[in-house]
Amino acid sequence: MKKLPKLLCTAAAAGALAFAALPLSACAKNSNELVLRVSNWEEYIDLGDWDDDELIGIDNPYDAEADGIIGLNSMVDDFTEWFNGGDYGFKVKVEYSTFGTNEDLYNRLNLGDKYDLVCPSDYMIMQLMREDKLQKFSSEFFDRNQPDNYYANNVSEFITEKFEEFGGNEYAAGYMWGTTGVVYNPEKVDVEDVKTWNILRNEKYARQVTIKDNVRDSYFPTLGILNSEQLISGEGNADELLNNTDDETIEAALQILKEIKENVYSFETDSGKADMITGKVVANYQWSGDAVFIMDEAEADDNNPTELWYSVPDECTNLWFDGWVMLKDGINGDERKQIAAEAFVNFLSRPDNAIRNMYYIGYTSAIAGDTVHDYLDWNYGLDASEETETETYSYDVSNFFGEGAAPIIVDRATLEIGDNGEINRGRQLFTQYPPENITKRSVIMEDFGDRLSEINQMWINVRCLDVKDFNPAVVWSVVAIVLAGAVAICLYKFRYQIFYRRKENKD
């Protein structure tokens, strides 16, 4: 039995290897079941499990049996059930994963991870398009004559027009969109100060504002500050000014960002929401969807309910969107995969599902149509039959829902209406569906292209301690401490030698 130990060892080694290789070997494949690999942002889809009282009580033409819209199961499970119950001729299994940032997704794709359908942001879609990594949607998907093509029939013109600007309509299907702005506490912040991005470096609110911890969301308001005068007067071309990445602009942005760094409470990735709700900060840079979430939570806070507002600074706002794109690498010419991927997008675009996602995550869906409009009215509109003292305002949403869409009747106190009728600050409805005067000054931020590494280096330089900026005395004292440490170690060594010698002497 001498061979056994060796055998065992080999087995152990083989086991270790197999363990390491485990993720590489895919699960057994069922020829009738197609695996659709979908990757989406974290917390960016309805996960179901709603309470009964969360039922959205509007007409649901897509489910005759239901008396409204409610998310009982997760959206992905509902899709699987819906697809497998249809007459596609094959079954599908969704492998759903999430990513944290666009860069994270891009890195994964470059490392060889394969996905069929992903949901990156505008600039990443542009970059992937340029790198020829995207698979076009089929013409059937956009066929408006098919009533079952929920995306084609319900997507807002506003979104398709924006997609047209960069030629993305065939490659991407819009999912969520929004603006960027400042969430603020009107009791603690002067309205005049939130009219400009300069609030981020306004010393009046030193260490009481937050900004996002990523280069794109920091660069944009910085350029807003830099070009403030031109943007407000309307002299300059906003698209050009805010997509400017020449050396001079980057250098100027670096200086402003350093000032911002000294002034803000934090560069946050996610903590800004909680800090705003708990009142640790009085204003923060936010994406509109998260702004809605913050406002909802802050007023629902039992201990300290606060009414927060959302302001879009006068200079500009970053219009962003996330869209579903199919990857050539993943689909790999497989027609069934493309059908399943398109069906997934189509299912998410079915207005009742779009509403479920919107309700669950707080963002604004790219889907328009009557059902979504009903949902808005249900969610924000004042009941016309009830007699109240409230002064009302007819909020126009036709820029998103198309000509002829009925305005939403809301409480006038939830909006700040300027003398010229423009609305620049408001509560949830304003945040989710910005009026035309906002979308007019919105700018889509393109990808940085070959200037990416310069911008990234600038961002790193902002966050690093620059020896040159620093008081030489402090630098030297640091060096002195290090040296003192080294000397102390030497002394210690020396100590033992003294000790040793003395002992020797005694002997």
């Binding site: 790193i460 966050r463 620059d466 640091v478």
Partner: protein, 266 residues
């Protein structure tokens, strides 16, 4: 039939060797490859010169060093008497006391730092006004058990007869401490320092969570990697690795010397 399993030493090493090759050596080679190549995959020293020519990376290195040294010193100042008292207390109490110090380690680290953030907010008001101080407190909180444990073990191992002998020979308490206790606890101090100094140079989660927006080495590496710049990121990792290597080399020498000198003391 009697089954006899006999492994030679080298065979027992095999699982670990496999692990080592797969998850330590192989990634290290990848890092070295990226550190000395550019975007086109050609060999270059540019990343290396970039590191030392950039006043920002040097600033970050100094900042990390300052932060980790301060943390280590404070940890040592707190841990040394604590470990001494723990090791000297009565047998039964000892484990309970030790448990009290080790207990925080059982709680998830991010949870602890979040709690610390709230405590600091109560104490300081706006915590973003003292980023460096908060980072030091956070790191100390996080790494203190790593300093206490090795010191505690080295105090436990300390032979009480030696102390008695020293007193018998006329040394007062201070001299006993200086000439016997302190030299004998040096191995504990050294391993405590290595366990605190090196991780605290890169543990940027603490800084992020306590709103210190200045980068340390860990965050710098992370930011290069998330910006697709694997080459500079790898170079910084490599430089850091070399620094760690040198520190370990020095401290190892130091504790070796120490065990030699202990022999002469005995």
């Amino acid at each position: 039939m009697k089954l006899k399993l006999r492994f030679s030493r080298s065979q027992l090493c095999l699982p670990y060797a496999v692990f080592l090759i797969l998850f330590v050596i192989a990634p290290l080679l990848v890092i070295i490859y990226y550190a000395f190549t550019n975007g086109q995959g050609k060999f270059t020293f540019d990343n290396f010169t970039n590191f030392f020519a950039n006043s920002n990376t040097i600033g970050t290195l100094l900042y990390s060093l300052l932060l980790s040294l301060t943390t280590t010193v404070i940890c040592l100042i707190i841990a040394y008497p604590t470990a001494y008292i723990l090791a000297r207390s009565g047998f039964k109490k000892q484990y309970v006391l030790l448990m009290l110090f080790i207990l925080p380690m059982w709680i998830n680290f991010t949870l602890r730092i979040t709690a610390l953030k709230e405590v600091l907010t109560v104490l300081e008001g706006n915590i973003s006004l003292h980023p460096f101080l908060n980072s030091v407190i956070g790191m100390t909180y996080d790494f203190l058990p790593f300093m206490i444990l090795p010191l505690y073990t080295s105090f436990l191992k300390l032979d009480k007869n030696l102390l008695e002998a020293a007193s018998d020979l006329g040394a007062n308490k201070f001299i006993v401490f200086l000439r016997v206790t302190l030299p004998l606890s040096v191995p504990g101090i050294v391993s405590g320092i290595t366990m605190v100094l090196l991780p605290s140079m890169t543990n940027y989660v603490v800084l992020d969570m306590l709103y210190n927006s200045t980068y340390i080495m860990g965050s710098l590496i992370g930011s290069y990697f998330s910006a697709y710049d694997w080459h500079n990121g790898s170079m910084i990792s490599l430089v850091l690795l070399i620094i760690i290597f040198i520190v370990t080399l020095v401290t190892n020498r130091f504790s070796d010397k120490d065990s030699d000198s202990r022999r002469t003391v005995l």
